[in-house]
């Protein structure tokens, strides 16, 4: 699928300052030498098992399945240590960085989940965590800030631009530029300049490697009719899709955030309503003005609140292999409540977008098996809900 180095069809690339090319090239090299090494693989697989708690379970939802008239299955990334899929990636990158001789893990974070997961990886690997976070997000994600500080992270408040995730990425890229010798930039999603989209997918594909097998084991060897995941930057979705891509019978659905839902509202749905552009090192679909200025995004789910998307999704969208749909804030909040009440599982607001897809489209999905990636747990979102409800 990769046509030009670092490209997925028309999307991807390495649109970053020359001064960041050396660390990116160093990383590409580590991907070719260290990543496939037995030492790395052994340690990584052991960490996934011992520290993350993998394999994560798959769960059949008896009550909601009955309510909706379909078979609802969840891949439980929320059960991972630190509460989301993010840790698959941070442990992978952390270990790689450690073996590259770096001692600092630098990361951006929006919802705080990637910041927490990076901090966990740093603590575990006896490294330092340096987390860039928008000033606005620091306020709305206070519990995750508390967790990061407790685990020893240094948190840098980003005061520029919209003071959210995209500005945190800008800040972190700048910092990486200065500190590249000692520091690995542990990018949080399957986006950004090559090799990050490939590297992050490599660490997240474990989701579908497990999920596909687990589903077949529980369903007499049959595959699900549909696989659904929310799409922020796209890491949990690409992880959940990857091993299903060759299964032509399996419909892949990525769910973007429609924001409040009125026409013209701020949203986080670049695949649905954005256009081609270049941001954060990649050519992809973006929310932007005609002049190429990046638009502020919005979603009630902070982890989806990003105006871009990973280039592989832009490609899967262009080729039609995956469908990308939208779910708005109130549909997601409804799903958050429904899954909590009916199955005793509090999903992250991000993951609630994927669950909402099944709820909102139940009429079309009668009798189908729908397999959703529950990318994270919703404990972090209770404060947001309190404010809304």
């Amino acid at each position: 699928m990769i046509m030009k180095k670092g490209y997925f069809g028309d999307f991807g690339g390495q649109f970053i300052p020359e001064l960041l090319m050396p660390p990116l090239l160093e990383l590409e090299e580590a991907m070719e030498t260290i990543l496939p090494s037995e030492e790395f693989q052994t340690r990584f697989i052991n960490m996934l098992k011992e520290n993350v708690g993998r394999p994560s379970a798959i769960t059949y939802c008896p009550n909601l399945s009955k309510d909706l008239g379909l078979d609802l299955w969840l891949k439980r990334e929320d059960l991972n240590h630190s509460g989301a899929h993010k840790i698959n990636n941070t442990l992978g990158q952390g270990l790689l960085a450690k073996m590259m001789g770096k001692d600092v893990l630098l990361a951006e974070t929006g919802a705080g989940m990637h910041g927490v997961a990076t901090t966990v990886a740093a603590a575990m690997l006896d490294m330092k965590a340096l987390i860039y976070m928008g000033a606005t997000d620091i306020v709305r994600q206070a519990p995750n800030v508390g967790r990061m500080k407790l685990m020893g992270a240094e948190i840098v408040s980003v005061e520029s631009g919209t003071k959210t995730l995209k500005d945190a990425i800008n800040g972190a890229l700048r910092r990486w530029l200065s500190d590249q010798e000692t520091t690995h930039y542990c990018f949080g999603t399957a986006a950004g300049p090559h090799p990050f989209p490939t590297l992050v997918r490599e660490f997240q594909q474990i989701i579908s490697r497990e999920a596909r097998q687990q589903f077949m084991d529980r369903n007499d060897g049959n595959l699900p009719d549909m696989v659904v995941a929310c799409v922020g930057g796209g890491s949990n979705a690409i992880g959940m899709f990857h091993h299903f891509i060759p299964d032509a019978s399996v419909r892949l659905v990525g769910v973007e955030a429609a924001g409040t839902g009125e026409p013209g509202c701020d949203n986080s749905a670049p695949l649905n309503i954005g256009s081609d552009g270049i941001l954060h090192g990649m050519k992809t679909k973006l929310l932007q003005t005609d002049e190429g200025q990046i638009l502020p995004s919005h979603s009630v789910a902070p982890g989806l609140d990003y105006p871009g998307v990973g280039p592989e999704h832009a490609h899967l969208h262009a080729t039609g292999r995956a469908d990308y749909v939208t779910i708005n804030d109130s549909q997601a909040i409804n799903a958050f409540k429904v899954l909590s009440r009916r199955e005793g599982i509090i999903p992250a607001l991000e993951s609630s977008h994927a669950v909402a897809y099944a709820i909102e489209n139940k009429d079309k999905l009668q009798g189908k098996s729908v397999f959703i990636c529950l990318s994270g747990r919703g404990d972090k979102d209770l404060g947001i809900l309190d404010q809304i409800l």
Partner: protein, 253 residues
């Protein structure tokens, strides 16, 4: 030969450093901006670098970023820049260089952008987020219109990568003197010297030193290793403190 190179070499011939002041388009405001350009031109700038505002200026330091975002808020866009330059075509002694990020240029349309540069008298372009690997299509669009894509290299650019950039380069080579973003930083003269020597060996176009330059004294130690100096943050701070561009240029003459 690209006019930026010509202008810098004029200064070199006079035993001087070529001066490349940078201002974000529309700074400090729409009207004043053109007056500042005039002043800088009269004060002997070899090349005037004009920043094209972008919402996510990942390679800028805080001073430049803040000034540019203000201009963006004021509605400055490429159309306004080209419009203003077209109106003043032929009035500048200095060569004109646009600096920015790829996305606004990409949305404008590369071919239109290149044609408008030519029409407006712009001879060069710096794209902060465009490394060698991705630059082919931009160079291809600029070339027919005689616009140079100015290469940006720095302390961590290997000689091999410098060679990639040097191949077919015109105008000048922008050498970034710190590993970090624009703004005034402590520099490491020994390492800079070493890399400047390397750049001198590789590039046959002038070399401009940029990032964090405030005063000519900073440059004496690099004499002979560089041809021009870019100053941005220092100039912006100077203007923000209410002083004139001419005054800033004084010690450099």
């Amino acid at each position: 030969m690209n006019s930026m190179q010509i202008k810098i070499e004029e200064a070199t011939k006079q035993g001087k450093v070529g001066l490349i002041p940078f201002l974000p388009a529309g700074f400090p405001n729409r009207e004043q901006f053109w007056k500042e350009l005039e002043e800088l031109d009269n004060a002997g700038a070899a090349v005037i670098e004009i920043g094209m505002p972008f919402s996510d200026p990942v390679a800028d330091g805080p001073v430049v970023e803040k000034a540019s975002l203000k201009c963006l808020d004021d509605g400055i866009d490429l159309a306004w820049i080209f419009d203003g330059l077209r109106k003043r075509k032929g009035q500048f002694k200095a060569a004109l260089l646009l600096m920015g990020y790829l996305n606004p240029v990409y949305q404008y349309g590369l071919d239109t952008f290149a044609a408008d540069c030519e029409e407006a008298g712009v001879s060069g372009l710096i794209v902060a987020d465009l490394p060698y690997e991705e630059s082919g299509f931009v160079k291809d669009a600029l070339a027919p219109h005689g616009v140079s894509l100015v290469p940006l290299v720095g302390l961590n650019t290997s000689k091999e990568r410098m060679k990639m950039y040097a191949d077919g380069a015109s105008g000048f080579c922008y050498f970034v003197s710190v590993l970090g973003t624009t703004g005034q930083r402590e520099s490491l003269p020994a390492r800079i010297k070493e890399k400047l020597v390397e750049a001198g060996e590789v590039f046959d176009i002038p070399i401009a030193l940029g990032f964090g330059i405030k005063h000519p004294d900073q440059l004496t130690q690099f004499a002979g290793l560089m041809d021009a100096a870019v100053f941005g943050s220092a100039l912006i701070l100077h203007i923000q403190s209410g002083k004139s561009s001419a005054e800033f240029m004084e010690p450099w003459k």
